[in-house]
């Protein structure tokens, strides 16, 4: 008898790897058309993003933000909610962080200040996700529509607040004042000098911790079980006594809080001030990461590192190969999203056929 479902190892590993290779193949073709050698370009990219310790630390720095936004999108996705508002929630989370900083950074020592700022970012991010969650749960307004509008509202609101109130007097740059040094996230090169001059900071460790907590909560707790049941079959969840509307609101609050926390790495780990459009699309990358990583902690980690590497490696590559503009990497990101998200199961029939031909050990069916 034929298997009609892919075994777990194939759908979890073989499929994503094939999808990724396909995206890279198309990217190689484009680089070839731009008049550069794809193999050489790839080796430069890998060298500067993974092999060089300083490059790797930059890759992980970018990945730290992406892990938080990827988790944000994943939590909502597990409840059956497509939260595409992580971008706006991260932006507003940055506001919460900044307000905490501006009022406390000269009053508190680092060990108290940093947690306060983090709480500020999580609260503001959660608050920004609460309203779309509430509207979905109680009024049936579609979460995709409301969260995308909330992204626009967040952008306009932040523009207004920064230019009108947060910008220090006499400044031209649309940004808040620089925070006191007590508000800087400790950098990892203080303990590991081999990392070189890097913004990689404690946020990375927090991101790993968040992945672990997410994994435990979603797969090993009664709450996560109820979350997944709500996402898979709301009718049955209602039968099981799960309050659907509460689950939707709580999932969105957590999703928003995680998006808000993504701002910690960007602001406290690097710039130390709030600037216009600081999320720079990290919330949207989170969607790709959640899809590609299948909302699994390991998958989210690997795809976050991949996207971090593309940014870091792409930057260096465009410096070395002037024929390859920086935009090429937005293009490659797009390809990866296309192959891993939209065309996720493109190769599934072929793999299935091969498994059936070779008579590989099959799952019960």
């Amino acid at each position: 008898m034929k298997t009609t479902e892919l075994p777990r190892w194939a759908s979890a590993f073989v499929l994503p790897v094939l999808n990724l290779l396909s995206a890279l193949l198309v990217a190689a073709l484009v680089i070839h058309l731009l008049g550069e050698n794809p193999a050489e370009s790839l080796s430069i990219l890998i060298n500067s993003a993974i092999i060089n310790p300083e490059g790797l630390s930059y890759t992980l720095f970018y990945a730290s933000t992406f892990i938080f936004t990827g988790l944000s999108v994943s939590v909502a996705m597990k409840a059956g909610l497509f939260n595409i508002g992580s971008e706006g929630q991260m932006y507003i989370g940055g506001l919460g962080l900044t307000l905490a900083m501006l009022s406390l950074d000269h009053a508190l020592p680092a060990w108290a200040l940093i947690p306060c700022a983090m709480i500020g970012s999580a609260l503001f991010g959660a608050a920004w996700a609460w309203l779309p969650g509430y509207l979905q749960a109680r009024r049936g307004s579609h979460i995709v529509v409301t969260t995308i509008m909330f992204n626009f509202i967040a952008a306009s609101l932040m523009n207004f607040l920064i230019v009108k109130y947060l910008i220090p007097e006499g400044q031209q740059n649309p940004a808040s004042r620089v925070f006191a040094t007590a508000g800087e996230m400790p950098r990892l090169n203080e303990w590991f000098p081999v990392l070189g001059d890097t913004p990689l900071n404690v946020s990375f460790l927090l991101a790993i911790a968040a992945l672990v907590v997410y994994g435990v909560m979603v797969w090993r707790s009664s709450w996560g079980y109820q979350l997944r049941a709500t996402g898979l079959n709301p009718h049955a969840a209602h039968y099981a006594g799960i309050s659907i509307s509460r689950m939707i609101i709580v999932a969105m609050l957590i999703s928003g809080a995680l998006a808000g926390l993504a701002s910690v790495n960007s602001i406290m780990g690097s710039t130390h001030y709030l600037s216009l459009n600081f999320p720079a699309g990290a919330g949207f990358v989170g969607i790709a990461i959640a899809l590609m990583g299948r909302q699994h902690p390991v998958g989210i980690f690997l795809s976050s590192v991949l996207f971090g590497a593309l940014i870091q490696g792409g930057f260096d590559l465009s410096l070395e190969k002037p024929n390859i503009p920086q935009e090429t990497f937005i293009f490659i990101q797009g390809l990866i999203i296309l192959f891993c998200g939209a065309m996720e199961n493109f190769y599934a029939p072929a793999i299935l056929k091969m498994l059936n031909l070779t008579g590989a050990p099959q799952q019960k069916g």
């Binding site: 008898m1 034929k2 435990v216 090993r220 707790s221 009664s222 709450w223 079980y225 109820q226 997944r228 049941a229 898979l232 079959n233 009718h235 049955a236 209602h238 039968y239 099981a240 006594g241 799960i242 309050s243 659907i244 509307s245 509460r246 099959q362 799952q363 019960k364 069916g365």
Partner: protein
Amino acid sequence: MQANADVSFAIAKGSIHGLVGENGAGKSTLMSILYGYYNANSGHILLDGQERQIRTSHDAIGLGIGMVHQHFMLVENFTVLDNVMLGTEGGFKLAAQRAATEAKLREICERYRLNVDPLATISELSVGAQQRVEILKQIYRSANILILDEPTAVLTAQETASLFAILRLFKEQGKTIVLITHKLQEIMDITDQVTVMRAGRVVGATGTASTSKEELANMMVGRPIQSELPRAPFKPGQAVLKVAGLQLEDKNKVRLLADIDFTLRAGEIVALAGVSGNGQSELLEILSGMRLPSAGKVEFLGRALPFGKRRDADGLPAAFRALGIAHVPEDRLRDGVIKDFSVMQNTVFGYQDRVTNRWGLFDFKAIAARCAHLLKAFDVRPSDPDIRLGLLSGGNQQKVVIAREVSSKPKLMLVGQPTRGVDIGTIESIHAQLLKLRDEGVAILLVSVELEEVRALADRIIVMSGGRVTGELNIDEFDTTRIGLMMGGMHKK
């Protein structure tokens, strides 16, 4: 895993051949091989004496094999004509093709008395008519061998009779029909030959005239079936559930339930009989906490159920479960299980907070032990706790639900259509479980549209029609005609 082993059987041209077996016996796999969905690992298929290779459903259609699935493959907002043409439309221009096809369809409908208007839209047709469209589609594609998978599962008695009339006409005109079913009365009514399958093997093949329902049932299950299950003498205890003046209106103020009054005592099974859609489902939903009533009072063990001043029933079933009310829902795939969860995860569904440690984390060891015990006690097959529930047969899925609800040690058990889409052997075991629960002193409220089931289980029968109670009788007063009148709303006590 082998789904079919050494299956050999022959079907005579121009006959109606029955294929029976329990859920998971391999009937559907076998027919899927004939229709090219699966390829057999070994063996031969001979058609009119010639060996044929059927690799895809295209091959099957080419050889004149047509299949009518249990779930229709129709585009709801297309007309009958468009549905038939779908996939056979030749070329870019449709108009000429349409006219020709329509003429041919009318001719086929005439010849086989299918009574389908080619220009009607599918969504406007009754279930029985939609099924005739599926048959029409196969005939149009010149099928000479028609395979019907559980065709009567969705039909009313009248529709079944008219389907059988059509099938007899097919036979007269030389077509061959394979009927997959587990309703033995249908086998006796219409087939010429019957093949019985069990666990992937053919266990019997005989002329229908020379066998009986009992013999077929025994072959299917592999052991004699008890027609009367043992039950303790009727000794009802205290009142568990008191329903008084219960009303339900929907959003448009349409009355779904009116003035429902009844009492249910410990150790008795009360069956709510009635034609589907006369308020039984809604009553069950209210009593399980899935829906709020518009008015009325429900007392459970002397205390009013906490409908209170709630704005909706969100989360209420959890409170009812905590009181000791278990519920086997009517539509198990929609409400009762998560088919993408494993069997083990489904055994705690609704009771997920009872299997955690103090941190709210699952105690997987205890869950696994409990699951292994349940799968064994309720004979769920395969007894693998880690496979996806959706991969189990309907009967085994239902066993998982029953096992879960029974094991919650309820005081009141609400059961909706416990044996819908379930085979004979499983029906027997589910009925036995419910009777055992009754004998242990649990109050059971059963909703069933199968009078046979009501007769087999109930101590008392409440008949509903149009959202009202139209009659009440004890099991020793069971009388099909009288109940039929009450179900039609003719009889009012």
